[in-house]
Amino acid sequence: MIGLYSPGSSLIHRAPTLLKLFLLSLCVVVIGTSPDLRVVGGAAAGALLLFLIARVPMRAAAGQIAPILLILLVAVPIQGLLSGWLVATLMAGRLLVAVALAALFTMTTTVTAVLEAFQRLLRPFRRFVDADRVGLLVALTIRCIPLVSDIVREVLEARTARGTQWSLMSIAVPVVVRSLYAADALGEALIARGLDD
């Protein structure tokens, strides 16, 4: 969800997040359990139509789907030889449609909308779970991925610049230490922004 949202005002963008999540789950279950190639083919055509309605950049969408193609390049021939080409085609179709629909969801839904949906889902359990806190936890987790990724990149660059040899400890120790410092600083920032309760 980091950097994948593609702003827009299409019907898909405006659809309620919980509805989108429900339809995504339903579609994945249906294509995952149906042995009929026509169902998977229909779902693929439906997914393509949804992409056109959402008017998301096709290049970005292709970037989301491309990694699964690499996996399928290896998995389909193996599956075809072991279980038959119908099963291999079904598997490939199911994976492609599921990944495409998930990509469409992330490209048309902001993190805030997902958090609010989570909070609404958790509301009936408010006696046991603080929905706001869970929402904040999810947001911070998403936010910390690029933060930690930057730390890893900087540590690797520093290691290269100093010409040190590869060792797990020389990467792990500074990454962990710097991540803890960053977590501490993020905690301070949250306090400063009024989230100290």
């Binding site: 949202y5 936010r143 690029p146 960053a182 301070e188 922004r193 100290d196 309760d197």
Partner: protein
């Protein structure tokens, strides 16, 4: 302007004393705080919104003891950190600014309106839905500022906000300070940033060694460094 008062404030980290018996009253609109690394200036300003509690003495903002009323004080005092990356909480620019308002009891329409206005004010509108971590250093610091100012605090405390910026962005931030109607307290090593301020305080080894008009204080600081 808020009245911020330090009354005989002392603080140490372990054996190292960082502030020693500091008494100050800050009432001017633009106040600069300068000093060497480890002089205690960051600790001093962190006390203004309760990020650090003094071991002895009191800090008050408009008569409210920060140690006892930290939450109320934080609504009046916005804080900007050196590294904006550590201050950005939400994945996109718009969401991060809106995040400040989420617990203020405002309607979604009001949050959206104030967020849009804040982004426009800081020239971030075109980046509103972009990932915050992909902004440049200067834009990230502007985002940090927008995220603080959207809550309309009476005072803004900035702890070395230009340390990680290039010359162009330092100038941009510097010009911004001059236009803000709020009380601004800036800790910095960039002395030209505070040349036009109303008051500059020099901290050395946990004590106030110069306090007054910028020319006078900056001259004293330069003499100290010589």
């Amino acid at each position: 302007m808020s009245s911020i008062r330090f009354e005989q404030v002392s603080h140490s980290f372990g054996d190292r004393s960082v502030l020693h018996d500091v008494t100050l009253e800050l009432t001017e609109q633009r106040i600069g705080i300068v000093g060497a690394n480890g002089s205690g200036k960051s600790t001093l300003v962190r006390m203004i919104n309760g990020l650090v509690a003094p071991q002895s003495g009191t800090v008050t903002v408009d008569g409210q003891n920060v140690a006892k009323h930290a939450r109320d004080v934080r609504r009046k005092v916005g804080f900007i950190f050196t590294n904006p990356d550590n201050q950005i909480v939400m994945p996109t620019v718009r969401e991060d600014v809106a995040f400040t308002l989420r617990r203020r009891g405002l309607s979604p329409a009001e949050i959206a309106e104030r967020t849009t206005a804040a982004l426009a004010k800081f020239g971030l509108s075109e980046h509103a839905d972009h990932p915050a971590h992909r902004l440049s250093g200067g834009q990230k610091q502007l985002l940090a500022l927008a995220a603080v100012l959207v809550a309309e605090p009476a005072t803004i405390v900035a702890d070395e906000p230009t340390t990680l910026l290039d010359a162009r962005n330092i100038r941009r931030i510097s010009e911004l300070w001059q236009t803000l109607p709020q009380q601004v307290i800036v800790v910095t090593h960039h002395l030209h940033l505070v040349e036009n301020f109303d008051r500059v305080i020099v901290i050395e080894k946990g004590e106030v060694v110069a306090d007054g008009a910028p020319e006078q204080s900056l001259a004293a600081y330069s003499a100290l460094l010589a």
